[in-house]
């Protein structure tokens, strides 16, 4: 069966099969063989692809695999096929404005109950020295502001909930 890993916002479908004393990786049209991974303890291992070995440093945190290979670090998320995934941007007549990156709320321009139109400035957020404005994706009424000025939030956090007009 196909498994999905997400890396920097892109999904990669792949599957493994047994092959001799190891595995082969099926990645689109590409097949990588012969693969083995020997654990050396303490988050260290040796990945061998067709006889060539690479030292690997790794850490596994739930569904997330952190890897360091050839001086480069990547974070890959395993998408469990059984769990529902994907961000819901619209539910029960509510629209949500999500944080495009982690940061701090600098200023909020609106209050719950305010009528807003598409493109209205809702909030100014700051991530490091970069300020950006969160704007309303459409006309509506502000339902809830989820973070106060000065509060920090993570990537993907719901910042503002908006009710569509008439709801």
């Amino acid at each position: 069966m196909n498994h999905v890993f997400e890396l920097e916002g892109v999904d990669y479908q792949l599957w493994l099969s047994r092959c001799q004393q190891g595995y082969q990786l099926h990645l689109g049209d590409e097949v990588l063989a012969l693969l083995t991974f020997s654990h050396q303890g303490d988050g260290r291992g040796l990945l061998t692809i067709a006889g060539a070995s690479e030292p690997v440093r790794f850490a596994i945190d739930g569904d997330t695999v952190h890897l360091r290979i050839r001086g480069r670090t990547r974070i890959l998320r395993y998408r469990d096929p059984l769990s529902a995934h994907g961000l819901v941007n619209k539910d029960a007549g509510h629209l949500v404005a999500r944080a495009p990156m982690p940061g701090v709320v600098v200023k909020t321009w609106v209050l719950p109950g305010d009528q807003i139109s598409e493109g209205s400035e809702l909030m100014v957020i700051e991530s490091m020295k970069l300020e950006s404005v969160i704007r309303s994706p459409q006309d509506g009424v502000v339902d809830q502001i989820h973070f106060k000025e000065g509060e920090s939030f993570e990537h993907g956090a719901v910042l503002v909930t908006i009710t569509e007009e008439g709801h």
Binding site: N2, H3, F5, L7, E8, Y12, L14, W15, L16, S17, R18, C19, Y23, L25, H26, L27, E30, V31, L32, L35, T36, F37, G43, G45, L47, I49, E54, V56, R57, F58, A59, I60, D61, V65, H66, L67, R68, I69, R70, G71, R72, T73, R74, I75, L76, Y78, D80, M101, P102, G103, V104, S127, M128, K129, L130, G150, E151, S152, E154, H155
Partner: protein
């Protein structure tokens, strides 16, 4: 060891700089106290300090800006001196004054010096009055009616800046003087929005300048020395990324003139303790930019080439001692490079990154120095500056230092939170960087260094991830080899 009038020092800071100051306090057999916000409870500075006192605030940053709580902590810990580090309250004259009035020694310049040199326009006017070179400029406040006319007479290109500004906000480059009026209106709007202060000034825009700064040290007996220059031209959005000492390819005569000018400016200002005089350099010309009245992030490169522990000197000066060396005693040896490891993803517009530090392994070896503010298990948040650590290397030549620093970036392992280490490695290996042809626009002109190669080694990473993920391996193990070999076309 010379006697100091205090035996305990409070560090009003956090992160790597708090750790760095504690190290010197230990060497001088002084006790250390730190203040910390709850989010930093697991940080190395808190466990290393002899005493740690919690402070709180409306935001985590506000806690470290709360002078009243910091002074209360200083009394609680019975300290004799307060070191402000950099950032936070380090250049706040009111705080320095309150520290002194509360009976503590302030490990930094006098409040008067901070007032004079910490304010951009005041410092610039002072420096110009004393006959040192500044970029030709027009200051609105001097005579608002003639502002535009005075700006025009400087000649283009021009840079419009907010008087109250910083961090690139309210700044406009004007190449065509006909658009000057529009640029002023835009900059004023931005300055008003960001700083609540629409005052502007305009200066000649220096194209592709180098950012060269000079470390100075003064005591309360009127002695001032410089500890040579640092090159800090590799910047992005006015944020320094890689610093080095000495500045490569500066002609020797120019190097000496810049260093001596910096010491003369500090002398004219009757400056004491550690400070940095920043210049912009273009061709054979150099101009005073600003003075930082504090210890700087990049001070370790100067320590590496001179062997001077700047924090120790700061403490001795604050304790009333005379400088223990004169200019002739300070010698520069070899080349040092510092790379700043940030929790950010250059490949995604330098977006800040967060996460728990799962694995942390710093490179080590002769000539290596790591100033780190994080430890394994610590949660990295966006509540504070994203600087995680500084990796500093010292070698006999610049090329060797660059090579060693690049290797350090390859060897550094920090898993759990993305960092800019690969980006730093790319810059350190870049041809133009290695030739020393850097200026403040270098990173903008070389976007490939920021972007990286997102596709490289992709299948290797996916293979490792697949082999390390139980369900992926299990489903392979569950299928006999013969069926698996049919899988390719069965799935198609």
């Amino acid at each position: 060891m010379r006697k100091l009038p205090f035996d305990t020092v409070l560090i009003a800071n956090r992160g790597e700089i708090a750790v760095r100051i504690i190290k010197t306090l230990r060497e001088l057999e002084l006790r250390s106290a730190v203040v910390y916000h709850d989010l930093d409870a697991g940080a190395p500075a808190v466990s290393m300090a002899d005493m740690a006192i919690a402070v709180s605030g409306r935001t985590p940053v506000a806690a470290y800006l709360d002078a009243a709580q910091i002074l209360a902590a200083a009394r609680e810990a019975s300290v004799g001196a307060i070191h402000p580090g950099y950032g936070f309250l380090a250049e706040n004259a009111e705080f320095a004054r309150a520290v002194v009035e509360s009976g503590f020694a302030f490990v930094g310049p006098t409040p008067e010096s901070i007032d004079l040199m910490g304010d951009k326009i005041r410092a610039r006017n002072f420096v110009q009055r004393n006959g040192f070179p500044v970029v030709p400029s027009a200051i609105e406040e001097d005579d608002p009616a003639s502002f535009i006319q005075r700006a025009r007479s400087i000649g283009g290109p021009l840079l419009v800046k907010a008087s109250a500004g910083g961090g690139g906000k309210g700044m406009r480059i004007v190449r065509d003087l006909d658009s000057l009026q529009d640029a002023i209106a835009q900059a004023r709007g931005e300055a008003q929005r960001y700083f609540g202060d629409g005052r502007l000034y305009i200066e000649r825009y220096i194209e592709k300048p180098r950012h060269i700064e000079v470390q100075v040290l003064g005591d309360c007996f009127g002695n001032v020395v410089h500890l040579f220059e640092r090159e800090c031209s590799v910047q992005r959005r006015f944020q320094k990324v890689i610093e080095e000492a000495p500045a490569s390819t500066l002609p020797p005569g120019l190097r000496e003139r810049i260093c001596e000018t910096a010491a003369d400016i500090a002398r004219a200002a009757n400056y004491r303790n550690a400070g940095t005089v920043e210049f912009i350099v273009r061709g054979g010309e150099f101009y005073f930019l600003e003075m930082n009245t504090r210890l700087q992030v990049e001070h370790p490169v100067t320590e590496m080439i001179t062997g001077v522990d700047i924090v120790a000197e700061q403490l001795y000066v604050a304790g009333g001692h005379e400088l223990r060396f004169s200019q002739q005693n300070i010698v520069s040896t070899g080349h040092a490079i510092e790379a700043r490891v940030y929790a950010e993803a250059p490949e995604r517009g330098f977006a800040p990154t967060t996460g728990k530090v799962l694995v942390l392994d710093y490179p080590s070896g002769p000539g290596f120095r790591i100033d780190s503010g994080v430890s394994q298990g610590q949660q990295i948040t966006t509540a504070f500056d994203s600087l995680l650590a500084k990796v500093i290397v010292h070698s006999s030549t610049r090329n060797e230092a660059a090579l060693t620093a690049e290797r350090a970036m390859q060897e550094l392992v920090l898993l759990g939170c993305e960092t800019n280490a690969s980006f730093l490695a790319r810059v350190l290996a870049d041809e133009q960087f290695l030739r020393g042809q850097v200026h403040t626009g270098y990173l903008d002109e070389n976007p490939q260094l920021t972007a990286g190669d997102s596709a490289s080694d992709l299948s290797t990473f996916l293979a490792a991830a697949a082999l390390l993920t139980r369900p992926v391996r299990d489903s392979a193990d569950a299928v006999p080899e013969l069926h698996a070999s049919l899988g390719g076309w069965r799935n198609a």
